[in-house]
Symmetry: none
Subunit: 524 residues, 2 copies
C-alpha cells in the first residue's frame, strides 16, 4: 500500500469558487473536520493577498492539530527586490504555520507577458524565496503554476523552474494544471518524465475545466505522484478543483493506495454534506460516492437486479463511504419496491393481498394525475397507512381562507385564516406572510403548535414548484415538493393541484402528519 499525502485547499482555492465566502469561524470548523478526517496538509489561506486570512491565522495559532499540518499560501517574491523586503513573504511568516506553500511561474509566456520579467530572474525568485523560508525553519512546498501548459510550450524551461525550487529546498514539487485544460494522456506522459527526473517527491494539483480533474489526478498518482491536492466537494475557481470526496475513495477502494484510515472513509458522506451546508451551496446529489443519488436506483431492471445482488449495479457497497442504497419510487420502479414499503408498515400483508393491488393502482393513478413520489416517500407511506387502516388522525383542517392584496403594507402581502380540530377541540387563528403559501404555512403551524408543541423543532428545508402542463397557462396543474427536517431526520412530501395554495397545503399537511407519526412510533 503506497501512502498518498492528502493536501486539502478547500480554504484557499475552494474559497475562490463563485458563491463561497467562509467566515473565520467557518474556517476554524473546517480545519477541525479535516484534522479529524486525517488529511496530511491543510492549506488555510493566503495571508499576503487577503487581510481576513491573516486574522484567521492568528486565531488558529493556539489550536493543537492531531494529524494535519497547516500551510499558508503565497507567491514567490516580487521581481528585482530582495526577498526579506517583500511584504507578502513577511505576511507568510506572520501566519506562523509549520508549512508554507509557494507558487511560481513555470510557463515562459507568463514570465514575460504577465509578470514582465526575464526567464533568469523568475528562476532566482523561485530559489531565493524557498531558500529564505527554509532558513526560517519552514517546510516549503513548491506549486509549479501552469506547469503542464508551460511544459507543452517550453519543456526545458518548465523543468528548470522545478530545479530552482529543488535547489531552494522544496519538500514537494507540485505540478499544477492551473487552467484545467490538460488531457489525461498528456498528464500521464509529463508526470512520468518528471517523477523520473527528480529526487524530491512530486504532487499533483488539477482543475476541472475539461471535466477530468479526478481522472487527471488519479493518473498522475499512477505515474508516481505522491501528494494529491484538492478540495472538499471539488470547490474551486471556475469549474472547481479535484474533488477529494471522490478521489480518496477512488484511490483507497479501487487501487493500492492509502490516504486516510479506512474507518474514516465512512465519514466522507457526512463531511461532504456538512461542508455544503456550511458553505451554503446546494449539495450536488449526483456526486460520486457522497451524493444522495450515488446509490439511488430508478430503472425497474436495475432495482430487480440490486435486490438479487447489489454487486450487479453498484461498483462499491455504499456503506463503506457512509452512504446508503435508495430505491426510488417512480413509474419505472417495480411492484417489489412498493410491496417492501407496505410490509415495512404491516408485515402481514403480502404480494397477493387485495390491499397490495389497491395501493399499486392508486399510486399509478396518482402518477397519471401528475404526482411524482421520488423524494416524497413520506407521502407514499401516509397513503399506504390510510389504505390499510394503519392511520391515525392527529388533526383535521376544517377550513381556511387566504387573502392576497395589492397594494400592501410592510412585507406581508397575504393573510391566512384557518380553523383546525384536534379531538373535540377546535382552534381558529390567522397569520400573515410574504405570499399566500407562506401565510398559510405559518397559520397551520401556529394553530397546531398549541396542541403539538414539538412542531416548533420542525421546519421546511426545501420548497419546489413545477408547472405540469405549462401550456394550460395560469390554469395549469402544479406539483409542489417539500422537504422537512426536525434537525435530525429529513423527509419529503408532495401535493398536486391546479391551485398552488392547495398543492402546497397538501404537501404541508403530509409533512406534519408524517412527523407526528415518527414521534409517536419513537415513543412507543
Amino acid at each position: 500500500m503506497k501512502k498518498i499525502a492528502i493536501y486539502d485547499t478547500t480554504l484557499r482555492d475552494g474559497a475562490q469558487a463563485e458563491g463561497i465566502s467562509f467566515s473565520v469561524k467557518d474556517k476554524i470548523k473546517i480545519v477541525e473536520k479535516l484534522d479529524a478526517l486525517g488529511v496530511d496538509y491543510i492549506e488555510a489561506g493566503n495571508p499576503g493577498s487577503n487581510p481576513k486570512d491573516l486574522e484567521f491565522f492568528k486565531s488558529i495559532a493556539p489550536m493543537e492539530l492531531k494529524h494535519s499540518k497547516l500551510a499558508a499560501f503565497g507567491s514567490t517574491r516580487r521581481t528585482n527586490k530582495p526577498v526579506e523586503e517583500d511584504a507578502n513573504i513577511q505576511a507568510l511568516l506572520r501566519a506562523n504555520t509549520p508549512v508554507v506553500a509557494i507558487f511560481g511561474k513555470s510557463w515562459d509566456f507568463h514570465v514575460t507577458e504577465i509578470i514582465h520579467t526575464t526567464l533568469q530572474e523568475n528562476l532566482n525568485m523561485i530559489q531565493d524565496t524557498l531558500q529564505y523560508l527554509k532558513d526560517k525553519g519552514k517546510e516549503v512546498i513548491y506549486d509549479a503554476e501552469h506547469f503542464f501548459d508551460g511544459y507543452k510550450h517550453n519543456p526545458d524551461y518548465a523543468v528548470e523552474t522545478l530545479r530552482a525550487a529543488a535547489a531552494g529546498g522544496a519538500s514537494w514539487l507540485v505540478l499544477c494544471d492551473t487552467n484545467g485544460g490538460t488531457l489525461p494522456l498528456e498528464i500521464k506522459e509529463i508526470t512520468r518524465k518528471i517523477v523520473k527526473e527528480f529526487q524530491v517527491p512530486i504532487g499533483i494539483h488539477c482543475h476541472n475545466d475539461t471535466g477530468m480533474a479526478v481522472a487527471n489526478s488519479f493518473i498522475a498518482i499512477q505515474e508516481g505522484a505522491r501528494q494529491l491536492q484538492g478540495t472538499l466537494n471539488g470547490y474551486g475557481e471556475r469549474c472547481g478543483n479535484a474533488n477529494l470526496c471522490v478521489l480518496i475513495p477512488n484511490l483507497q477502494l479501487k487501487a493500492d493506495y492509502y490516504c486516510i484510515e479506512d474507518k474514516k472513509l465512512k465519514e466522507l458522506t457526512g463531511i461532504s454534506r456538512w461542508v455544503s451546508e456550511l458553505a451554503n451551496m446546494a449539495h450536488d446529489e449526483k456526486m460520486p460516492y457522497v451524493g444522495n443519488s450515488a446509490f439511488a436506483h430508478k430503472g425497474g431492471m436495475h432495482i430487480d437486479a440490486v435486490h438479487k445482488n447489489p454487486l450487479s449495479f453498484e461498483h462499491i457497497p455504499p456503506e463503506v463511504v457512509g452512504n446508503e442504497r435508495r430505491v426510488l419510487m417512480s413509474e419505472v420502479a417495480g411492484r417489489s419496491t412498493i410491496l417492501s414499503k407496505i410490509r415495512g408498515i404491516d408485515g402481514r400483508i403480502h404480494k397477493e393481498s387485495p390491499e397490495t393491488k389497491e395501493i399499486i393502482e392508486r399510486l399509478k393513478s396518482l402518477e397519471n394525475e401528475g404526482y411524482q413520489f421520488e423524494g416524497a416517500e413520506s407521502s407514499v407511506e401516509l397513503m399506504i397507512r390510510r389504505k390499510i387502516g394503519a392511520h391515525k388522525r392527529f388533526f383535521e383542517i376544517k377550513d381556511f381562507r387566504v387573502l392576497s392584496e395589492k397594494p400592501w403594507k410592510d412585507d406581508n402581502s397575504a393573510t391566512a385564516m384557518i380553523k383546525v380540530a384536534v379531538g373535540d377541540q377546535e382552534a381558529v387563528t390567522a397569520a400573515e406572510g410574504n405570499g399566500p403559501v407562506n401565510a398559510l404555512d405559518k397559520a397551520i403551524r401556529k394553530a397546531l403548535e398549541v396542541f403539538y408543541p414539538q412542531l416548533k423543532n420542525n421546519r421546511l428545508t426545501d420548497y419546489k414548484v413545477r408547472v405540469l402542463d405549462t401550456n394550460a397557462a395560469t390554469g395549469a396543474k402544479v406539483r409542489v415538493h417539500i422537504e422537512s427536517t426536525d434537525g435530525e431526520n429529513v423527509w419529503g412530501t408532495v401535493g398536486v393541484s391546479t391551485d398552488i395554495i392547495e398543492a402546497s397545503f397538501e404537501a404541508l399537511v403530509d409533512s406534519i402528519e408524517y412527523f407526528l407519526f415518527r414521534e409517536m412510533e419513537q415513543e412507543e
Copy 2:
C-alpha cells in the same frame, strides 16, 4: 479529422436520473433541439418497459428529422422463448424507429446469477434478437452491458458476446461501463484490444460513479472507439452518464475529432441551460464549458492576468461554446447587447448617454434579485421604454384582492376582485378561477377587454414557475416566466417576488402592455 458519431440518450438513460420526469411534449421538444444540434442518433425511450414511451413514439412518428436517426431501446429477448413471441421485442417494432438499440449481458455473473440462464443461451439471445430485428429492416446497435466488468472477470466470454452480436448483424458494438466503476487505464487497455479484434465499429457508454465518465469516454475514443454515448448535462442513473456538453467541446476543440458543425458548438451553452429549465433541475454552474462559472474569475491575480491576456487563465475562448467571460464583482459583460436593444427603440441614444448606464445598472440589479431575461426580452424592452420616456400608460391596475378558500364548490377555488383605470375611466370587476393566479389572470382580462377588445385574441401559451432559493421554503422568491401569443407573434415576460401572485401579476401586466405597444406601432 476523425468523425465521432454522437449518440444521445438524454431521453432514455437521462430520464433514469433522480428528479427527472419528462412529459411527452418535453420529449418532442428535446428531439427537435438535438436534431438541430446535429447529433447522429437520438435514443428516445424504452417502449417495452414503459407504456408512456410507446405513446411518445406514436406521436413522434410523423416528425421529419433533418440530421438525427431515432432509436428505440430494449433488452434481448427473454430466455428460452422464440424472439417473435417476445412482447418487448414487438413493442420495439411498434415504436417504428429506423434504429433499435439492444442491450445484452456481457458479464457471466449477470447471466448466471441475475437472469439465471446458461452462458450459451445468453449468446443465442443476443444473436437471435439482433438477427430478427435486422431482418425486419432495422439498423441494430448492440449495447454490451457491464462490458468492462465482464471483461475483467472473464475476458473470453465477454468477447464471445460481442461476436454473437456481430454475427447477428450489429452496426455498432457499444462497450458499456454500466456500473461506472472502471478506471481510465483499464478502459484504455480493454478498448484498444476490442477495437483491434473487430471489424464492426466500436462505441463507448460510460457512467460517472468514479467521477471519470468524461475522461473514460475520451480515452476510449483515443483508442479507436468511434461512437460516443452520453446525455445533455450528464443526466443519468445514479451519478449520471458521460456529459455530452463537456465531451463534444473536448473532442472538437482539444483533439482532432469532429462531432457536430463548428458553428453549432456556439449553441451548447444555450442548449445545456435550456434542458435544465425544461427538466426543472438546478443548472450546475460549475459545469465545464457550459456553466455560468466556467469562465468566471474571482481571484485578484487571475483577474489581472486575464485582463492582460485571457489565455493566461482560460483554456479556451468562452465564446466558442456560446459562453462568456465573467469577472466577479466588477461585471461589465453584455453592454453592447443592451445598447443595441436601446438604440432599436431610440436611435439617438449612444454608448455614453446617461440612460445607457442607468439601464445597465438597473438590469444588473434586477438580475441580482433573481430576474432572468432570457426568453423574456419583452420585459426588458418595457423596462427600457419606461427609463427613456418612450412609454405609454395604456392602463393602471389600481388594486386587487384574491381570496382562496377551502373547502370550495365546483372547480373554482379562488376569486379575484380588481379595479383598473384607463384614462379617466375606472372599472371594477371580479372573476373566479381554479387557483389564485388563474382567477387574477381572468379578472385582469375581463376588466381590460372592455377598453381593449383586441385582447380577446391574446392568450398565454406557457406559464412557468421557478423557486429561486428553495431552502427559504415557503418564504422563497419565485420567478414566473410566461409566454403569450396573438396567434401570429410570440413574446415572453417575467416577474419575480416572494409572492407567486405578485410575480405572476407582473409578468401578466408586462405581457398585455407589450401586446398593446405592438398593436399601436403596427397601426402607426
